[in-house]
């Protein structure tokens, strides 16, 4: 039975798709058979970040509507073994995903995969609720700013009230906090919330802190998940997060401003 992980946030543009691609790839690199599903109907994005947009023939909605079989729609990743992608539909209406349809696809995938990563659309309405409904675990992606944290709080409320696990009174969805686009110097300047501010407000366990990094944009332009860039801080931070997701306890990195160079130190000392 696959473990279903939803990557969700409430707010848009915080790094859900970047995270789904990185975490999914990281799990596959650790030898776990993994499929990433794009639930963002109409805003198909995951295939671009994974660099497989040209290979999309059939999508999630085609499968639900019986226009294609799963084996026709699932794309095998070219770079990483054990990794598969199911793209979102580009053009269909937002109501194309039905609960029964999603359930059927997930059930079928469940027997074949270790992890199913669901990349949620933004918002807290139907689309986001569909992506989280069947989840066992949730990665709540939050930027260190007030509006993003507030939206994450809302989505946490929905995870615990409108998911299948909540409705059936089962063990609640396991929650993980992933703070992305973290910029320690802006935190020091008081322009961003700190990790402990966010942890204090949301009160869920911290899975990782992904620093703001130019490597992310570069990676998405190249169509390669940033976790493959082992030189980049963001790539390393995603690798750490995958380890923690798999149960390892490792310390958090990149939380503080990098040590100043010699000249800056001199200037700083005189200030």
């Amino acid at each position: 039975m696959a473990k279903i992980i939803v990557v969700t946030s409430g707010k848009g543009g915080v790094g859900k798709t970047t995270t789904s691609a990185a975490i999914g790839t990281g799990l596959a690199m650790q030898g776990h058979r993994t499929i990433i599903i794009d639930f963002d109907v109409g805003l198909r994005n995951l295939d671009l970040i994974m660099g497989c947009e040209r290979r999309v023939v059939y999508d999630f909605v085609n499968v639900i509507n019986g226009e294609a079989s799963l084996s026709q729609a699932v794309i095998k990743d070219k770079r990483t073994d054990n990794l598969y992608i199911l793209a979102a539909s580009q053009t269909r209406d937002k109501d194309a995903l039905t609960q029964e349809g999603v359930q059927k696809v997930l059930d079928e995938l469940s027997t074949n995969y270790d992890f199913i990563v669901c990349d949620s659309p933004a918002g807290i309405e139907k689309g986001a609720q569909m992506a989280l409904y069947f989840a066992d675990e949730a990665i709540v992606v939050t930027n260190p700013e007030v509006s993003s944290v507030r939206d994450s709080d809302r989505i946490l409320g929905i995870l615990q009230s409108k998911s299948k696990r909540a409705e059936q009174g089962k063990e609640p969805i396991k929650e993980h906090l992933l703070i992305t686009r973290y910029n320690p110097s802006r935190v020091n300047d008081g322009e961003m919330l700190s990790v402990s501010d966010v942890e204090d407000i949301l009160a869920i366990p911290l899975l990782g802190v992904i620093p703001e990094s130019e490597a992310v944009l570069k990676a998405s332009n190249q169509g390669a998940p940033v976790i493959l860039d082992s030189q980049a801080t963001a790539g390393q931070a995603y690798s750490d997060a995958v380890q923690r997701l798999l149960g390892d306890e490792i310390g958090h990195r990149f939380l503080n401003v990098e040590k100043k160079g010699f000249f800056k130190r001199l200037l700083g000392a005189s200030a």
Partner: protein
């Protein structure tokens, strides 16, 4: 006008009752110590009423001062005796502690000689000093919430108290006909006594509420005193004014 220097009031206190059947100083002390060790927290500094109503000492006198001393040494606070027969009355009077007649106290007693921990002192053991006749409202069990109440969520304890063992997020709302207890940060809105109970209160571990209200009298975040912010606090109504004070 002259003001009285004191006020007399009736009150109810909770005590442990020690039923003593036989008093042999050495074994008494040992047995009592064993008993206390079963629940040391409960017995620590506990006031104790010594019930001698069933005490027979085969005609030999009882050293009540020693009995009191033994109790004190084990951390109890003897407050008086109860049910003294004529046989012990003067010896008890000599100790200087109160002596209550047998009938005045309605008690659930701790049987001193009972060996089972199950029959040990019940925390509700009490002596009714005063009888109050009052109309009893049938109490509904409190509503207990163990997870955070998140932004956009609302929880209402109808006809009952609400207990939240976690935080109440900004944008969340908790309501109760009775009291509200939040064992975490209160960042959202809390409305106690929503059915008009002016006696209802709000208690929280960390006061950072957007709004607090008791029986419709409310206060917004901006009117909270800065000194109370993020402190543990209670909110109650006094003469139609909401008071927010540290706990």
């Amino acid at each position: 006008m002259s003001h009285a220097d004191f006020q007399l009031k009736g009150s109810t206190i909770t005590v442990v009752v020690l039923d003593i059947y036989r008093y042999l100083p050495d074994s008494f002390s040992t047995q009592l110590e064993q008993k206390i060790l079963q629940a040391p927290q409960f017995f620590a500094n506990s006031p104790v009423l010594i019930n001698v109503g069933k005490l027979t000492n085969d005609g030999s006198p009882v050293d009540f001062r020693l009995l009191i001393k033994q109790c004190s040494e084990l951390g109890l606070q003897p407050v008086g005796f109860k049910g003294a027969s004529d046989e012990f009355a003067s010896a008890i009077a000599d100790t200087g502690l109160a002596s209550l007649p047998d009938s005045s106290a309605s008690v659930r007693a701790v049987s001193f000689e009972a060996p089972e921990p199950a029959t040990q002192a019940d925390p509700e053991v009490q002596v009714e000093i005063k009888t109050v006749v009052q109309e009893k409202v049938v109490q509904r069990p409190s509503k207990v919430i163990t997870r955070p109440v998140r932004s956009g969520q609302q929880v209402y304890a109808e006809g009952a108290d609400l207990i939240v063992l976690s935080q109440v997020s900004e944008g969340a709302e908790v309501l109760a006909d009775g009291n509200i207890h939040v064992y975490g940060a209160l960042r959202g809105r809390a409305l106690a006594g929503v059915y008009g109970d002016t006696e209802a209160r709000i208690f929280c571990q960390q006061m950072d509420a957007e709004l607090v209200s008791v029986a419709g009298n409310f206060l917004l975040s901006e009117s909270l005193d800065e000194s109370i912010r993020k402190q543990s606090a209670q909110v109650y109504l006094q003469d139609d004014t909401l008071k927010v004070i540290p706990l």
